[in-house]
Amino acid sequence: MDRFFNRGGPTAAFVSIASLALAGCAAASASDGMDSASASAPVAAQDEPYASTYERYPGVPTALIGATIYDGAGGRIENGVVLFAEGEVVAIGDASLAVPDGYTVIDGTGRFVTPGIIDIHSHLGDYPTPSVPAHSDGNEATSPTTPEVWAEHSVWPQDPGFSRALANGGITSLQILPGSANLMGGRSVTLKNVYSRTVQGMKFPGAPYSMKMACGENPKRVYGSRGRMPSTRMGNFAVNRETWLEAQAYAEEEDPDRDLAMETLAGVLAGEILIQNHCYRADEMALVMDMADEFGYQVSAFHHAVESYKIADLLRENDVCSAVWADWYGFKMEAYDAIPENAAMIHNAGACVVIHSDNENDIQRLNQEAAKAQADGRRMGIDIPDADVISWITLNAARAMGIDHMTGSLEPGKMADVVLWNGDPLSVYTRPQMVWIDGALMYDMDNPMLRPVSDFELGQPGEGDVK
């Protein structure tokens, strides 16, 4: 559902089918634009306001042996070995890779290893549970363009949803986006899925910012209903283009006055802030790609791109990822042509697929969503290897978020964000067995004490689903 309206009220009912309707969030980023240099020094972060204070927790040198490994980059190793220490992947290989002294060995026979799962589209923290109006912090729906707002200033680090995403979904990194009420919704924040007292303590060190944009129904409905622009799709584009013109002028100024909105937009034009663009319809995506050309920026990913299958060739040529659900459809007009084969058809055309959640429940099962999308492709004759499907929820997401040089695949030197699954991760019968973030064991299926409980849930009857 895109996070357009806060929940509660009618949607909180058990049968909330009809109420939700308005979903749709936002968008995405494209993979290649960010090299590590620019990623580590985003423009607007010159003074690093609200800088990350995240530090990895202690871990022991660990060797996972005997498991089937999907490396996140499309590689598959049977009876493989993954070594990690000091927070980093040390080596990955087949059974011939020797385990150095001092490593704790975990037998993964019959099990599977993947990189930590990454959700490119989450609202944990900015629409946390309990979903009461006081917690509705995802849409600054007071102006159609709010590039000046930063999602991190809304994130509640005690959202119970982080724990479920870890324990059930193996989520190690996630991007928190503003909602989709606005054409330009503000900056995202990328988090490590590790509870902290502060949002700074969760911020993924060195991750670039993205800006959320939204096309289509939501902005024109929200503002049109108030009698102001935009009230149509053409109005959406006009407001966007006027704003980009303003940003171009600002970017050309030699010593401009500080302007939070313009700083974000100038960062986009400089290629340092990515664009995550909520957009459902094929025709609108094609227009947005032309708008990006007109003003000289790159869309990193289209989010909720339910019609990408109609323009998969254009998306490949423009190097834009599609962040999609496996099979959501029909909740709003622009989702009417959603088909479950979408992801497979995009992949088959050579374009980039990311499976996203936009939802505090689906984030717990991105592996299953990817498996469904793969199977729907297989039934139409598109066979996609399991190892490629895993990249949809690991490396491809990392690419579109600009963090692929740091995580997303099991490559020596990358962060040791690792999931040991107790079976095939593309099966409904499989659960995360152990999850490491930067080499620290943060979840163990067999150890109820190694499961985080947010402050909010402490002393409550279910105590964070650990009772």
Binding site: M1, A13, V15, A18, Y309, G330, K372, Q374, A375, Q460
Partner: protein, 435 residues
């Protein structure tokens, strides 16, 4: 398997894509060599046979012979099960949720509440009907959502056959909100919900006993008439409630209105009072995987809710919808997750048989079709789904679907779009000409 699929294509070409005015004729059919799950809670049976004649199940099991004259299909490599029974859906009430003119789930401004009846509004040609059918859902309950008052109105039982005779039981149940949502609809407090329910049932009792409407009461004539069937127990009362304490308050209603035939819906905190629910004999319809404290009435949310209630002896169906991504065809995935849950230390899931029953025989029984749907038992509706694998596995899908012995078309708007865009080639004509 190949032969099987070839036969399928031949049959389907006669069924066509459009709805038929009346149900198609039932076929006699036997499927052999399949893995068969009967839906009754038992484990799947390998290399088994299912026989359907005149639209009814004749037999299902390992030692079943194919009667003479019944065409036998080789089901090797497939799974054969009863159709999924989806509880608490909006099937046929919605084309696009956010397009209000296409959405009949809520009647916010209606002068009526309990009297509302979904049956005449159900449109079996809605795409969600065909998507669900293609997902192996063969029967369902359809409910309105409370909006003009705490009573939502009367739901129906439907089959998903590709014809216009969808409703198999009209006015099957009344639905009332008695948790946070009910409190909001009742004027801001649970106290008002309980006062309104008691008043409504009292006025309905008067109607039932006197045969006339109390014009000085609060209920309209039609609402009182509708609820008169609830208070006498002729019609089920679905009660949406989540908080443990609220569940007990609802159970206590029967002390005042002993004939109420209740079904609890939602029941997120049911595990905390599972023994009390079990002792009441009242069945439950709940989401399988609600594990977040979405509201203050769901602080004890856990994926173990279903398993713990089942272990306590509660009859639990998995159903209902919580987000835009939930559709009837995702019920097998929800059930499968509860099988996986058993592996987590401290958690309680379901056995495979229990999980499958929770989306077939149990909801069918709650829907008034005990022994007649959701189960491969002699005399039951000939609702069969032939799957390409374990139906609870996310990679599996139906190959063929039969309702009352009639093979169903599985094409729809989505499958047509898929075929249209299988290629993006525009060298001859635009895609609009590909159909």
């Amino acid at each position: 398997m190949k032969r099987f699929l070839a036969l399928s294509a031949a049959v389907l070409s006669t069924a066509g894509l459009t709805l038929t005015a009346a149900p198609l004729a039932a076929q006699d059919i036997a499927i052999t060599g399949a893995t068969v799950a009967t839906g009754d809670g038992s484990a799947p049976i390998e290399n088994a046979t299912v026989v359907v004649r005149s639209g009814r199940i004749v037999a299902a099991g390992a030692d079943v012979a194919v009667p003479e004259g019944v065409p036998a299909l080789d089901g090797t490599g497939t799974w054969v099960t009863p159709g999924i029974f989806a509880s608490i859906t909006n099937l046929g009430l919605v084309d696009v949720s956010a397009v209000s003119s296409s959405n009949d789930v809520r009647a916010s401004d209606s002068p009526y509440d309990a009297a509302l009846d979904v049956a005449p509004a159900i449109n079996p040609a809605a795409q969600d009907f065909s998507y669900s059918r293609a997902g192996g859902v063969t029967r369902a309950t359809v409910t309105p959502v409370a909006s003009s008052g705490i009573f939502a109105g009367q739901g129906a039982v439907v089959d998903l056959g590709a014809d216009f005779d969808a409703v198999t039981q009209r006015r099957a149940f009344q639905h009332v909100e008695m948790g946070e949502r009910g409190a909001s609809l009742a004027g801001g407090s649970r106290t008002s919900v309980h006062a309104m329910v008691r008043n409504a049932l009292s006025e309905a009792q008067y109607y039932a006993q006197q045969g006339e409407w109390d014009e000085h009461g609060m209920l309209s004539r039609l609402d009182a008439q509708a609820l008169s069937r609830v208070v006498t127990g002729e019609q089920q009362l679905y009660v949406t409630v989540h908080r443990a304490a609220d569940i007990l308050s609802v159970l206590a209603l029967r002390e005042e209105f002993p004939n109420l035939d209740m079904v609890l819906v939602g029941v997120t905190e049911g595990w905390m009072v599972a023994d009390r629910i079990a002792a009441s004999g009242i069945p439950v319809i709940t989401a399988a995987l609600s594990d977040l404290p979405e509201s203050f009435e769901r602080l004890a949310a856990t994926q173990s809710n279903v398993g713990r209630m089942v272990d306590a002896g509660v009859s639990v169906a998995i159903g209902g919808y919580e987000s835009s991504g939930d559709h009837p065809r995702s019920l097998p995935q929800m059930a499968g997750n509860l099988v996986a849950l058993n592996q987590v230390t401290g958690a309680t899931g379901l056995s495979w048989g229990e999980a499958f029953a929770a989306i077939t025989s149990v909801p069918a029984s709650i829907g008034g079709l005990e022994g007649r749907a959701g189960v491969l038992a002699s005399g039951a509706h000939g609702d069969l789904v032939v799957w390409d694998g374990d139906p609870l596995e996310v990679s599996s899908a139906p190959l063929r679907v039969f309702i009352d012995g009639v093979e169903q078309p599985l094409d729809n708007h989505q499958t047509r779009l898929r075929e249209r865009y299988r290629t993006l080639d525009e060298s001859e004509l635009p895609p609009a000409y590909r159909r």
